[in-house]
Subunit: 448 residues, 2 copies
Amino acid sequence: MDEIEQNQISTLTRVLLEDTQQFREEFLDYPTFEQVQFYLQLDEELRKILYTIIKPKEMAEIFDLVEQEVDDVEPYVLEMGRKYAVEMLLEMSKDDVVDILKQLSPENARIYLKLLPREEVSDIMELFQYPDGVAGALMTTEYVAISATQTVAEALQVVKSQSREAEIINYAYVVDRNECLVGIVSLRELLANSDDVLIPDIMIDRIVSVSVSQSQESVAQKIKDYDLVAIPVVTEDDVLLGIITVDDIIDVIDESAVSDYSGLAGVDVEEVSKNVWQSALQRLPWLIALMLLAMLTTSLISRYKGVLEINQTLSIFITLITGTAGNAGTQALAVTVRKLAIKEQVMPAKFIINELTIGLITGTLTGTVVFFAVSILQQNMLTGFIVAISMLVSILVATLAGNLIPMLIVKFGVDPAVASGPFISTLSDLTSIIIYFGIASVIFGYLS
Amino acid sequence: MDEIEQNQISTLTRVLLEDTQQFREEFLDYPTFEQVQFYLQLDEELRKILYTIIKPKEMAEIFDLVEQEVDDVEPYVLEMGRKYAVEMLLEMSKDDVVDILKQLSPENARIYLKLLPREEVSDIMELFQYPDGVAGALMTTEYVAISATQTVAEALQVVKSQSREAEIINYAYVVDRNECLVGIVSLRELLANSDDVLIPDIMIDRIVSVSVSQSQESVAQKIKDYDLVAIPVVTEDDVLLGIITVDDIIDVIDESAVSDYSGLAGVDVEEVSKNVWQSALQRLPWLIALMLLAMLTTSLISRYKGVLEINQTLSIFITLITGTAGNAGTQALAVTVRKLAIKEQVMPAKFIINELTIGLITGTLTGTVVFFAVSILQQNMLTGFIVAISMLVSILVATLAGNLIPMLIVKFGVDPAVASGPFISTLSDLTSIIIYFGIASVIFGYLS
């Protein structure tokens, strides 16, 4: 009952070469996900044998998942031969066909578009126009549409006749003569009511829908909030264009979580299938860029050589202050990015004041601890005081930076997740050094 | 068509006080999620009026979401009065009832359990036993069960009769006389086939299921991989215990993404509804703990005072080396935590060697850049060499630490996400200092 295992794959591969009929029966008995795992383990030669055994219609279901798994789907499509590929595409959801055509070279995409029936092509061209990331690019046009003049029995007949093609049959969408969405009936309601009940009597007319140009993240939020299996996609005039189903949304939620996580770490954590050189090259830009920022910090420190000569012990506490402030900045950054991501209704001013207060509290408490620790260890309350007050101010500034920078990035229309923890802590190294040596200079200047 | 707005809430609140019948009609017309938003804005007095207008059965659907939104559901349950609350609980899914009872004080939970009918209680007690985080705690027992001896018409009759109570009706689960799951039929198939077809002819018998004690994350992965709306939960002997639906799984995926993100940042990013004091107190443990670790680094630096006196410029480059190595460590950490989370099949040895190689490549390139930068800026190739070689080794060690620490944590059965970016960078401050001053001491010792 678990994922297909390596020895099952070997056995099945042997059967593929030996007994076509037995292979068909065994292979088609597996769940689609496991068929895909098997398919992806085959080399081109074996896949070509498979195409002679498995019908295009059966391949359609498998290929829907293959397209999501492989980086480049083009060689798979080309090796099938045109006739087989076109028949397969005809059996797939139109949104999946668009996803596949988008991965082909322009010439090949044109060739396959020409081979498809004209009525399919117009639907596909319509889906083609939506840029990645908006609701339109995620929707499918295969839904069950009924009319408000129908009875339950008639509506059930429509559901039955479309049950093979429709992406989901949990809901039937009620449209008027202008294709406007006027209501939704769940299959549950259709089954629970008697045959002669009229659709308007049982349909929900306060519709939860999304606009075709809305971001996929906001669609995901809505499906999650309202606990839906599918959500209708409409134009500004409420014309029904398609539906988005929960399984596509799960992938969106997952991808956006991974990209937030990658952002915070300053590295694409999905570097999975890459080799070490590619992985290293991917990590380098951030590393080098931040190192150049750190060089700035370094040149600042060298300017304060005079202060360091007066009190050599100051250099001992550099990492203590920069490290702790950097940690506080990373915390503030993560909280802010998250708040911005879930679009919690916050007044920017109130949010900033809150973070400032949090920085003040954590800074004061941390500063107090460090004051006693340094004063006792160094037997020098002046050093303890300088380190403690620098710690307080550095934490305050780092917390504020962790809060303000993602908010500013959002202002410029960029995903706040690009502000990484390493960036905030390297930046806070710079500010902390200015604060630390600045405070030390002032105090030494005052004392001398 | 969007979330309920503040002025709608005000209007509806006025209607609640003025016209009971009109309120009922208007309120029940809203989608459940918006009813919940309205409900949560009311004070206790107004909620008590609402209970007199909205039936327990209608409240059941609302309260299912309320339970997920509020921190403590107990006052809401108590204010309803026992009779109303019990009637409401009877209308809810058993898994949701368990979630609510778990939030009540033990005495109150006992009181409500006693008031529920005996046959309900035994189901509920069974669900009670599963600890949070496993499949059993997420499943519901309200599914459609049919027998392999039935025809399509008979099965459809069962679906119809249970369509109100069942959590989903997309699948009917085929069980034998021992309650063992032997097949699954989709409602789609039932509707597409004629009445006299026998269930065994159309059911899927290669079942994708999860075990009752499996982790919720692995259930989520399976639902995602197989694109399911629901998955059956079985014992080791394949006895069907319940089903888990995709809407509960979305919450699991979301929560685990948030907890990974929080882990990397070293702060609970869901500190949303808290006040500044609570937020500050939540950030402090990590801050103080890491500061104590940084104190260790500080005392190490003070041991190397001798080296610092020989070459005062060394102190200038401390943050450059510790900062850059910390960033490399954070990157390696995030990649490793992610790989462990998706349980990619990796040989530990190969994985470690890969990360070491990546550390070597990034360290060498970064070290080369820093060698030229420092040599030119300081007009001193010896300092440039010491800083560059320290940078290389520090990055190597930090990358290895970012890779090994989460792997070790997993060995001890803990979620690898607890290893935070701030922890790795503070730890790497320590190792980088040892490396930097160690290398400097050796070279100076050799030269003198």
